[in-house]
Structures are given as C-alpha cells and as structure tokens.
Amino acid sequence: MLQLPYKSQAVAKPYFIAAIGLFVGQILFGLILGLQYVIGDFLFPAIPFNVARMVHTNLLIVWLLFGFMGAAYYLVPEESETELHSPLLAYVLFWVFLIAGVLTVVGYLAVPYATLAEMTGNSLLETMGREFLEQPLPTKVGIVVVALAFLYNIGMTLLKGRKTAISMILLIGLIGLAVLFLFAFYNPSNLVKDKYFWWWVVHLWVEGVWELIMAAILGFVLLRITGVDREVIEKWLYVIVTLALVTGIIGTGHHYYWIGTPGYWQWWGGIFSALEPLPFFAMTVFCFNMVNRRRRQHPNKAATLWALGTGVMAFLGAGVWGFLHTLAPINYYTHGSQITAAHGHLAFFGAYVMVVLTIISYAMPMLRGREVNPERAQVLEMWSFWLMTVSMVFITLFLTAAGILQVWLQRIIPDPQAFMGVQDQLALFYWMRWIAGIVFFIGLGVYIYSFFAKDKPETVPTGEVQPATT
C-alpha cells in the first residue's frame, strides 16, 4: 500500500466518490430534458421540464462543489506540508452537505415547487425560484454553514503550515465563492435589481472566483505530474488569475445589456468580456508549456490527458463560445437562445467538470493506496475522456446550429415567427443533441467502470531509465 504524504488527505476520497455519483444523476436528468425538447409531454406531469432542469443544474453545482472541496482537502495538506486541521470536521461536513443536497433534490421531485416553498419557510425570506438559486432557504443556509466550516478547516491548516501561491490562490477563490453566495439571500421586488445582483453569484462565480480554484487545481496537478520548477508554475498562476479577475469582474457587464440597466454596460461589458478568453488561453498555453518542459515521465497518463484536455476545452467552451455572442450588437440577437445553452454546456464541461476530473484522476489512485491505476484502467479512463469530450463538442455544435436557426427564424427574417413554431423546426438538431448525450452517458459509464478495471500487477516503473545492457 502506498502511503499518502499526509494521512488526513484521505478525507478527499468520499468527496470525490459523491461527486461522481451526483454527476451520474445530473446526466440522467440531462437525458430526460433532452428528450422533453422533442417529445414535449415526456414524463409529464410526473417530472415537468422545470423540475428536471432544476435537478440537472443543481446537481451539477453540488457535485462540482464536492469536487472543489475534495480537491482542497487533498492538496492543501500537501502544499502546506502539514496535516489537515480537523479531518473529523471534514467528514461531518461531508455528510451534512450530502444529506442536504439529496434532501433538496428529493424535495424538488416529490412535491410541487410552490408546496416546497411553503414547507421550507420561503415566506420568511423569499430567495427561491431564481435560476440556479432554486434551493429552499434551509438548504441555502446549510450551504453557508458548510462553506464557513470548510473555510475554517482549510484556513487553519494553511495558517499552521507553508503558504504557497497555489494554496493561497485556491483559498482566495474559495473565500470569494462563499462570500458571493451571500447575494443569493438578496432578492428585492425590483426585478432589475434582483437580476443585477443575481449575477454577482452566477457570473462572479463561474467567470470570476471559480477560475482561481480551477487555476490552483491545475497548477497543483501540473506541478506534481511534470516536476517543473514551482517558481515557474506559480508565476504562471498569478498571471492567469490576474487576467481572470481583471477581465471577469467588469466582464459581468455582458449580462447587463438588456435587463433594465444603463446602456453604457454595452461598452464596459463588451470590451472587458471580449478579453475574458485571455485567461483561458493562458491556461491552455500554460498546460502545454508545462507538459512539454516536464522533467519526469509521470506514469499517470490519464491525469496528464485530463489536464491538457481541461486547458483546451475550457478555452473553447468558455473562451471561444463565450466570445461568439458576447459583443452587444451580436448578443442583441442571440441573447436567451440555444446559443447560450451551447456555450453553457461546453464552458461548464470544459472548465469545471474537466478540472474536477483532472484532480480525481491524479489523486484517486493514491487515495486508493497505489501510485497509479493499472494500465487497462488508464486506457479505459482515456477512452472515457474522448467519448465524453467529443460527444460534448457535438452537443455544443448541434445546439449552436439550433441556436443560429432559432435566431434567424425568430429574430432576423422580415416576418419573424413565434417561439413554439420555431422550436418545432429545430427538432432535428435536438434529436442529434440527444444522441450525442447518449454517447456522453456511455462515456460516463466507461469512466466509472475504469475505477474497477484490473490487470496484471500494479507496479509500473516510474520513469527510471534502466541501464542498457552492453
């Protein structure tokens, strides 16, 4: 059995397992949604579209948070060169968060949303019913409590240990995540203000502080895999996160074009968000640069592939697909269409899903007591990488095609057509998207199977060159 550098890193394991489990649930509901797009009454009224969508998006957020927390528990002790402040607290928080998450999903599925709102005291403080922030009040409070206790645990660990740029950037990202979530509790009756600050959670998470978390995780994995000098890696990280926040904070303005906020946001938001691909491009260059300059051949090839894949797909999904519709004159036509859905899918997958799968790929073998997975398991994992990545690219392309057609028929031609009539004409693309979704699900199945795949003895030489016989 391989020993972990710090035995408290082991708390990351249940977090990663739960993340993968919830990921499966997310994709199952995604398949239901995809089918409802073409068979409108599928599962109605048992699971109406809005319910399935809440489950799909909320599960995504929750499992990514599980992944981020697992990543923090794994990498902070190693970076700080000290044991975690309280492994017990980490285990307790795991169960609290998992039970709260599962109960919330059960609530969505079991009772009508209005009943859920009544049961959970929404009238005390009306926070529900806004996209992605649908959670009942007790769940939202629970998220805050878990986040605070988690930050305490990570913060105390960092305080007593070595403070590296990787762990500091991760901590700033996590603090930002927790602080910005507090805006979920602000819901004025003025819709414009409500929307304005709603984006402080949604945009400033995914195009702000989450990028810090992502950069830190990538930096950690690349440092371990490539053996490149820490100074070089950390300098890159600072450049990436500078670009992320310098463009991303004012870039929030690309959501302020058409919601009642002043017209000047079309300039502020347009210019700064047009620069938002830069941090993602820097991440791509960073990943390839570090792997090219590697000082050792790490035997975990799957983790290397995930890291490189994250660099590429985050740039494509978040960077390129975001840029496509971020300028105000274009967004005027594309806003709230399937173009947005296309971007959302590839950005979340390419950036956040893949970075969590990267750290899982790197850390999970060691959490299971071996340096790397057996060869066959790695091959299967790499197959799942390609299946999921390529099918997600196709999902994005089909949604983009649907979006272009939708915008054309509904918003551009001289005699614009009504929404539902247009949707009927997009059915072909929605079917192809669904088939790509099935392939994604198969990829996910291969991914999970790879954890159980065995082959010959697990000892793989770790890059030591054997002297040639003469």
């Binding site: 009454d41 579209f49 614009p416």
Partner: protein, 141 residues
C-alpha cells in the same frame, strides 16, 4: 516567461489589479443602482407587482421560460408577453393548462385565484415596461 518578470511582480499585479477592478465595478454599480429608478415604470414596484413576482418565483416559471432573456429556453420569452398577448389572454392561457396535446410541451396547472392571476399579470405588465435598450428585437421575443 522571462526571468525579468518575477513571481513577486506577478503577485503584486494580481492583488493590485484585482483591487482596482473591484473598486471600479463598485463605482459602476453605485451609478447603475441610482439610474434604475428612471428605467422602470414607477420608482418602485407596487404591492401587486411584488406579489406577482413572488408567484413567478414560487412556481419556478424561470425553469422553462426566459424573462428578459434569462432563464430556461424551453418555453417562450415572457418579458414582453404582456405586449404580445395582453393581460386577458395570459390569464385564460394559464387557466387552461395543461393543453394535453400529445407530444406538445406541457405547462402545469397552478390553480391560481383571480387575485393571483391579476398579480401575475401586473408583474408581467411592469416587466414589459422596463427600459431594456429595445430588447427583444421584435415582439416574438
């Protein structure tokens, strides 16, 4: 990256840049919040509008529809539905759901009272009168 550019310089750039742009964002936010009252119908939403918004939220309408382009893309844009259809049509439409047409997308029945329907329409009317810089491009949303 060149050796001239040290990690300490990169770190300072990060902290300095972040603080600067947070402050700039806060300043723009301050200005925007002061402008909003001139961009909505009436300085503050009426009690009917506020109740309508609460109904909008607790029925999770955003889970299928968009409102000013934000939400799910499964059902029509409702930011301008008051202008597209008018208040009476909206009420009748909500009352007759679901249509149960086989294969069609279905909207649940919410069993609203007349008062609640009035509140909801008040909210949608209020929303349709927000200055959205002429979005959506046409009445179809």
């Amino acid at each position: 990256m060149s050796a001239m550019f040290t990690k300490a310089m990169a770190r300072n750039m990060f902290y300095g840049g972040t603080v600067f742009f947070i402050l700039l964002f806060l300043a723009l936010t301050f200005h925007t919040i002061r402008q909003i009252p001139q961009r909505i119908p009436g300085e503050t939403p009426s009690p009917e509008v506020a109740r309508g918004k609460m109904l909008w939220e607790t029925r999770n309408c955003i889970g299928c529809h968009t409102l000013l382009g934000e939400g799910a893309y499964f059902a029509p844009e409702l930011g301008n539905v008051y202008k597209r259809r008018g208040g009476e049509f909206i009420k009748v439409w909500i009352k007759v759901q679901p249509t149960k047409v086989p294969g069609r997308r279905q909207m649940p029945q919410f069993h609203f009272t007349d008062q609640q329907l009035d509140d909801l329409v008040a909210f949608l009317k209020w929303t349709s009168e927000i200055n959205t810089e002429n979005w959506p491009p046409n009445i179809q949303g």
